[in-house]
Structures are given as C-alpha cells and as structure tokens.
Subunit: 147 residues, 2 copies
DNA sequence: CGGGTTTTTTTGAGTCATTCAAAATAACTC
DNA sequence: GAGTTATTTTGAATGACTCAAAAAAACCCG
C-alpha cells in the first residue's frame, strides 16, 4: 500500500466510526500504528516531528476520541501514565517490567474476551478479563545482577 | 480475640516487618482490615473517626510503608485512585464495575502466582499475573435498564 | 528510667497526568 | 459557498500523589 492508500484507509475508519477526518487524528493514528505502547507525551513528541504546532491538549482529545471509537486501545498499568496501542479487539495482554516500566504484548491463549473466567464474581456480570503480567525485561534482568 | 490482643498481634506484625509500632499505623491497619478496597482519602476519613488530627499525608506515608512491607496490598484499577486491602500473599484477583467503580475480590483458581502463564513473553521473566475482570455490579445491572 | 539515635510524623510546597471550559477554527452537509 | 456541528486551540483547574525539611515520637542502651 502506498502512503496515500494507507491514509485513505485510516480516513475511512474514522468516517465509519462517525468521526471527522482531521490532520491531528491521521497523525496520531500513524504514530501509534508505527510504535507500541506510547503515552500521550510520547505521541505528542512523535506527532510533532511531522506536524509541529499541534498542542498536547489536542493529542489528549484525539487519543480520547480514538479510544472511545475503539480505533486505539488504552491501557493503564499501575504506576505509569496511560498508554495507547493500535491492536484493538483481540483482547491480548501485557507484560510490564517492574523495574523500568517497559511493556510488551502477550498474546491471549484463548483469543476472545473474557479469556479467563472467574468462579464467584459477587453478582457482577463480567465482560472482560484484563491480564497484566509483571516481571523483568531482558535488559533489567542483566542490570539486576550488577545492582 | 479481644481488641487488645488484636492490637498486639498487629504490633507484632509491624515489628517483624522491621517497622516501629505507631498509632497511625495501627489505626490504618484496623481500618483497612475492617473494610475492603479503600483509597487513601477513605482510609483517612475512617481513621479520623477514632483519631482526628492525623493528616492525609501521614496516611499516604503509612499506606506506602505498609504496602512495601506486604502488610497491605495496593491495587490500581484503571481510572481510579490506588486502593488498599488487607488480603495479601494469596494472589487473588478483582472485578471492577465499569460503571460505578465498585470493586470485589475474586478468588484465584490456582491460588499462587503467577496463576496464568503466558506463552511468549518477549524475554521477560514473569513473576506475577494480575487479573482484573471488568463488568457490571448488581446495582448497576439494574440501573442499566433504567438508563 | 533518661539520653541518644533513628524512624516516623507533620507541615508545607510542588509535580505530573489529565480534565474542564470557552472561544476560534475547520469538516462535512446541502 | 453558507450553515451547522464537530474539532481544535488556548488557558485554567483538578486530583492524586510525591518531595523535603523540621518536629516529634519510638526504640535501644546502659
């Protein structure tokens, strides 16, 4: 696909979500698609490379709108700012490094939500199971010995 | 157990964790033991009933120290402030109401961490799996129809 | 029990991530 | 191209904590 074709495909996704097609939205989608698990600041910084002048507030608005429309997925691991990623709808999970905060995707074995079923849920009707694995990333495993 | 015996038992737990026995700590332990999933503000409010004058900052300090000592467990569901509970070490999980934020415990089927094992962890060494179930609590299920 | 040391609490300020609101601007509809 | 509504922008405000220094209280010791 050419850059223009990708751009039009994104535009179409925005339209079918009932959202207007705007530069900030296309820019944020492009940035988040190209990377994984970025927080608002990071998205803002990367968007700024091609589109200087877009304010952080706009990035927050866009991230909020796109998440609500399920074009982005938002995760909030304990202790870090909200992170955004492009993979949506497949209910995958995450590993977070307890030392440096690095995040990686972990495929869900089951593949659809809720992939784990609780026994007694105190009357709650459960629709999703979110799994966060905590551990040490490769670089922090090495740092561990040194520290 | 009498109140005094409970108090002494808590004091002993503090000591063996290498912490000094202080009124704020005993008060916070008592409050969190009696309820489930309180945030710092709520703990502060309840501590204030018996011990007016203990500042919120002290509650934050105490909650931090007790969590570090594993006398309390801290959870941070997306979208809400950090919550504290007394059950530690059993790696149980939580259901959170997407509408009102209510939290309930969910026993872990396996019973020890990590209870769910990921397949590919991108080189991370995983030591814990934290599961958060999302759904609607009983009251919000009813409110749903009305809304 | 009283002095000394170290931890804890307290007071007070500061930060970060995020939200709220109103005005200005840009998309889409016709 | 004008009108309507969504979005962006500007600017301020908030909530939930954290940081730091001074005051106070625990614990250790003889």
């Amino acid at each position: 696909m050419t850059t223009d074709e990708i751009r039009e495909a994104e535009a179409e996704r925005l339209r079918s979500a009932g959202l207007r097609v705007t530069e900030p939205r296309l820019a944020v989608l492009a940035v988040v698609t190209g990377s994984e698990h970025l927080d608002a600041e990071a998205v803002h910084a990367r968007v700024g490379v091609e589109h200087p002048g877009i304010p952080l507030q706009t990035v927050y608005n866009v991230l909020g709108d796109l998440s609500a429309a399920h074009l982005l997925r938002r995760i909030e691991p304990a202790g870090s700012a909200a992170l955004y990623e492009r993979r949506t709808g497949d209910n995958h999970h995450h590993v977070v490094c307890t030392r440096c905060g690095a995040v990686a995707d972990v495929d869900c074995v089951v593949g659809h939500a809720p992939c784990v079923s609780p026994s007694d849920t105190s009357g709650f009707v459960v629709h999703t199971a979110e799994v966060t694995f905590w551990g040490l990333c490769t670089s922090c495993q090495q740092g561990e010995a040194a520290a």
